[in-house]
């Protein structure tokens, strides 16, 4: 019988404690790797979500708030900017293109974005990749909708399907714009950005949705307008939530940003997405550190548990260790036996942690994506993750070597008389 077999049998004889230790090491592994992965993924997701846009312009409020709702659909806009301002920006000599966007409505939990065709022409994500259609066309009529890939997959929508949009983010029955039917005309390719979770309609469509609403209240029964009634009206928007701006030259970014703050007729301002993102990372950096410390503490607790368990077992196993010694086992065998036990527990713990991570990736990430509107790319295990696992195993083996050393010393001079 090899020492490994002996170690496995010894661990099996202390099944409950071994399982608890494996779980605690697994949890530490999951937290250490998982939190780091989610952090990286969130950053990647945020950074990946917009590119080529020099400024995001919106009503004056917090720069982070503007970025969060305009690009990531997180939170709700509390003010709008006027269409005149959009026109003024568009006509500015430094500006190459403008994409006005209007937010605030939703469809079965997915945000609805009202915009112009320029959105599909100029908006870029990742490494300056434009949006592409998987099937269908971009919208051309007020009641056309182009949906993101996640919306299409999860709701199993196809071209030609009719959908109803809801007022605000609520999906309660009375908030649904049930008399306005939108037809899906296009499905976008997967981008792994919030675009995938978005239902895109034209600004006219957005206006049409609310044309019969008065002072933020739904129309009374006799005031309700249907698709065909709406089309007879002027569907031009007076306000939008924000706009993405591309400049002719990057050199103009700061001067144009400064200039925007001087416009007195409409209090708007512009943010540089990359800089605001850095601000977000700086803000969450503290939370990052706290999370890291908590995770390391969880690992320390797990390792102390391992140490305690080995110490307690050492006392119970005094006789067993001496039997091995008397049968010809060298104290190094006993030392190795205990180290092996720590090694096996940590390997199994790390495997449990990795398996849990895979389960979370499969089951939990889609849930987070739906709830937060974030598109998380939790990659499979990377070299750095294996390094973390290796460190956990080394730490466990090191911890095991303490009681193992004591077992070595104790049994070095003990013999037959000590077994009784």
């Amino acid at each position: 019988m090899s020492l490994i077999q002996l170690a496995i049998k010894s661990l099996l004889s202390r099944r409950l404690v071994s399982i608890l230790l494996i779980l605690s090491i697994g949890l530490s592994t999951l937290l250490l790797i998982g939190i780091d992965k989610i952090k990286q993924s969130t950053r990647q997701s945020f950074t990946h979500s917009v590119s080529g846009t020099d400024l995001v312009v919106g009503p004056r409020m917090g720069d982070i708030q503007l970025l969060l709702y305009s690009v990531f659909r997180i939170g709700n806009p509390i003010a709008n900017m006027s269409w005149e301002s959009v026109e003024k920006i568009k006509n500015h000599s430094a500006v190459s293109w403008v994409i006005p966007i209007s937010l605030g409505d939703s469809h079965r939990g997915y945000p609805v974005l009202g915009t112009t065709k320029d959105y599909f022409k100029y908006f870029q994500y990742g490494k300056q990749r434009p949006l592409e259609l998987k099937t269908g066309t971009f919208f051309s009529e007020p009641f056309d909708a182009v949906i993101g890939s996640v919306v299409a997959t999860e709701k199993q929508y196809q071209i030609g399907d009719e959908i109803h949009l809801s007022h605000g983010t609520s999906s309660t029955k009375h908030a649904v714009h049930e008399h306005k039917h939108f037809k899906i005309v296009g499905i976008l390719n997967k981008t792994r950005t919030p675009v995938d979770n978005t239902v895109h309609i034209s600004l006219e469509g957005m206006e049409a949705l609310h044309i019969d609403w008065k002072n933020g209240r739904p129309p009374k029964k006799h005031e309700v307008m249907h698709n065909h009634d709406v089309l007879e009206h002027d569907l031009h928007s007076d306000e939008v939530t924000a706009c993405f701006v591309g400049l002719k030259t990057k050199m103009a970014i700061f001067s144009f940003q400064r200039e925007l703050t001087t416009w007195s007729e409409d209090p708007i301002f512009g943010i540089i997405p990359g800089i605001t993102l850095l601000k977000i990372w700086k803000m969450v950096g503290m939370v990052d550190q706290v999370l890291k410390i908590i995770t390391i503490l969880v690992l320390v607790v797990a390792l102390i548990g391992l140490l305690l368990s080995l110490f307690i077992s050492l006392n119970h196993r005094k006789r067993e260790l001496i039997i091995i010694r008397v049968l010809g086992g060298h104290p190094i065998h006993l030392w190795l036996l205990m180290i092996l036990e720590g090694f096996i527990l940590s390997i199994l713990g790390v495997l449990v942690g990795s398996a849990s991570l895979a389960i979370i990736q499969t089951w939990f990430v889609p849930f987070i994506e739906n709830k937060l509107g974030l598109v998380l790319t939790v990659n499979s295990l990377a070299i750095s993750d294996f390094r973390v696992m290796g460190l956990i195993i080394i730490a466990s083996v090191f911890i095991s070597s303490i009681p193992a050393g004591i077992a070595y010393k104790k049994t070095l001079s003990q013999g037959l008389g000590a077994t009784t």
């Binding site: 067993e320 039997i323 008397v326 013999g415 009784t420």
Partner: protein, 245 residues
Amino acid sequence: MTTSLINISDLKFRYDRSDNWLLSIDNWSLLSNEHVFIEGCSGSGKSSFLNIITGLIPIKDGHISILNEEINKQSKIQSDRFRANHFGIIFQMFNLIPYLNVIENIVLACSFSKRKKERVLKKGISLNDEAQRLCRELDIDHSLFSKSINELSIGQQQRVAVARALIGEPEIIIADEPTSALDERRKNQFLELLFTECEKVNSTLVFVSHDQTLKSQFKKVYSLSDSTLKLQSKSNQETEISPCP
């Protein structure tokens, strides 16, 4: 032909904190295939003597030669290997490992001894087969082979301990107070079994006990008192019973 198996000369031993010699043996030898009984009261140094000849406790003064090997000159690793290869040990409380089953406990003795393993494999059978064969010889029912040690009676555990000591046919069997937990009838049965099995594998038996009722069954009886081993004559064995304090 009998040859000298263990030779001890000028052995002096005491524990670090003690001023008096626990063992002081000028000359003592044991022939191969002998069955000897060593008696002594508690604290007389019986276990220390066994620990010394099995290499568990190193000595500073004296010479011990076993199978022509000066064990007091061996390194710790060498002496552990020597013990694993040439000794079969039966403890006072049988001391089996609770999480191993009967066969695994027996085979464990070969885990640290290449020699014992080779001896078994030379017969053309596996370690498990040999353990099962020994179990059958020792009247351990095959239904117990995969049972946990905790499910066995004291008598069954004792026989498993004997099988573990016998596997690989070691030259020397050490039995340290193996009958202390048994009643009179079982003591005699056990001794008979031990003699038979040792004879089968040509092992030398060193039987240590403070139970003087057993010594009449041995041809040679040594008494450990006043730090030394004294051979008792056959007539002494029957008459002289020195009570332990």
